[in-house]
Symmetry: C2
Subunit: 275 residues, 2 copies
């Protein structure tokens, strides 16, 4: 089974994929989260594996926006929670104070603030599209550059690890989801359901309580709720929610039906087994 | 009156500050949002002016996190909504296809995706701490570099505008807030109140409906709600909400009192006149 993931080889997504994957999986790298999600939409791969939420930074905007507005025929079919440990890596041994440029994905930069403001304060910061691209850039240069990356990437690109576990918080874990075409998603097996909803009109934040009441009145717990802008001006939001129970359960189906009557748009992103 | 803002000169924040400021204001640039907020906390300036929410990208994480967890003695005392127009600028006239490196703040990069994926697809992307820092870097280099920046920055750093209004969406506007020490915030004058709350424990998303019900039962409208991770592991969130009415109004004071009984922590970020 071909599985799209955020490449190149050595990203945290590949590290998590290898930990989560059943046998018979062929990982296929894609350059961005958007293209990874669209690989399933376009039928280029049978599955995709993407990060959806980090414990420090919150929701992964590219994944949420693609699922909500671009890939309406793609469903979440499973989830996997993976601890994230960052390493500072370079082509060869190097004093941290001598690093002239540090390269990484902006989210990894945000997670290693103490190191960047302290020992690496003098280094130029350059963004890359993934932590593994950062490792590759460092491996290919003769300059005194370093990357914030995974240990897997250091091994793949033949780099040395200058520092490890450099993240600000011990509580750094990321939730990943498996995506499949809607017609391949097996109904009735989930104990968790992910939805996105918005509208109607300007009252969406005010109307949120009425929407949530449809769930709480039926004693359906939320494990997560997150708002994202609808990109149509200030004051317009869409809400991503994870709720306990599968869509085949009567009370969940009943609640989702009532909820549909209160919003402009409701999309079921998937019903699956919780990790 | 000294006002801290995200510098250097020429940022969108300064552009908005100049549009919003009363007479007698002395703008003082700070290098990061965090340091701008802390300037008021530390008493280095009397006010600060910072972005809090963009219509395309959502909440400004650095501002929200600083207000929620670091600067408990700082209050929002006013808000200002400013349209954002980006320009592609360079030291001298240059064909867009010949740009070797494009420099900007990651949020501006996210707002100009079509240009970056199209005519600038071949250019290296480098992050800067502000759009004005990007303009300054471009102005000081002989290389064929360009910046995504404000028109004000192009003028200040003697650059030429290669393209204007390059943002993906016409609906690009940012909400800025004025910050003051808590003891300088005048009570009773606001028609809008901003709060942040979290907890108790693991049930925070599920308990959200009970919290919001304290507002809706008193017919208090929400104009915004946004969740951010509490940075203590997956499943723990804090919620930022803006509600209609000032803290001196009986029904608002009553609702906030009831709300305080339902959460682990409730902070009033400010009560002020809506824009």
């Amino acid at each position: 089974m071909r599985v799209a993931f955020l490449g190149p080889a050595g990203t945290f997504t590949e590290e998590a994929l290898l930990a989560s994957a059943p046998d018979g999986v062929e990982p296929v790298p894609y350059p961005t989260v958007y293209e990874t999600v669209m690989a399933v939409h376009d039928g280029a791969t049978e599955r995709a594996f993407v990060p959806i939420e980090n414990s420090l930074e919150g929701g992964v905007a590219a994944t949420l926006d693609a699922l909500a507005t671009e890939a309406s025929d793609v469903r979440i079919v499973a989830e996997h929670i993976h601890p994230i440990h960052h390493c500072l890596i370079a082509r060869r041994e190097l004093d941290v104070a001598d690093v002239a440029r540090v390269i990484s994905h902006p989210q990894a930069m945000a997670q290693c603030g103490a190191l960047l403001r302290g020992p690496l304060a003098g280094a130029e910061r350059v963004s890359s599209v993934s932590t593994a691209e950062a490792a590759r850039a460092v491996a290919e240069s003769d300059e005194p550059w370093a990357a914030l990356s995974s240990r897997l990437a250091a091994e793949l690109y033949d780099c040395v690890v200058l520092r490890e576990d450099i993240e600000d918080s011990d509580d750094n874990e990321t939730r990943f989801v498996w995506l499949a075409p809607a017609d391949a998603a097996t109904a009735g097996t989930g104990d968790k359901t992910s939805i996105v909803f918005w509208g109607p009109g300007d009252e969406s934040p005010g109307a949120l309580v009425n929407v949530l009441r449809e769930l709480s009145d039926r004693e359906i717990n939320l494990t997560r709720i997150e708002s994202r802008p609808r990109r149509v001006g200030l004051g317009h939001y869409m809400f991503f929610a994870d709720l306990e129970g599968g869509t085949e359960e009567a009370r969940v189906a009943d609640a989702l039906g009532a909820l549909r009557g209160r919003v402009e748009e409701l999309r079921i992103l998937g019903s699956y087994a919780s990790a």
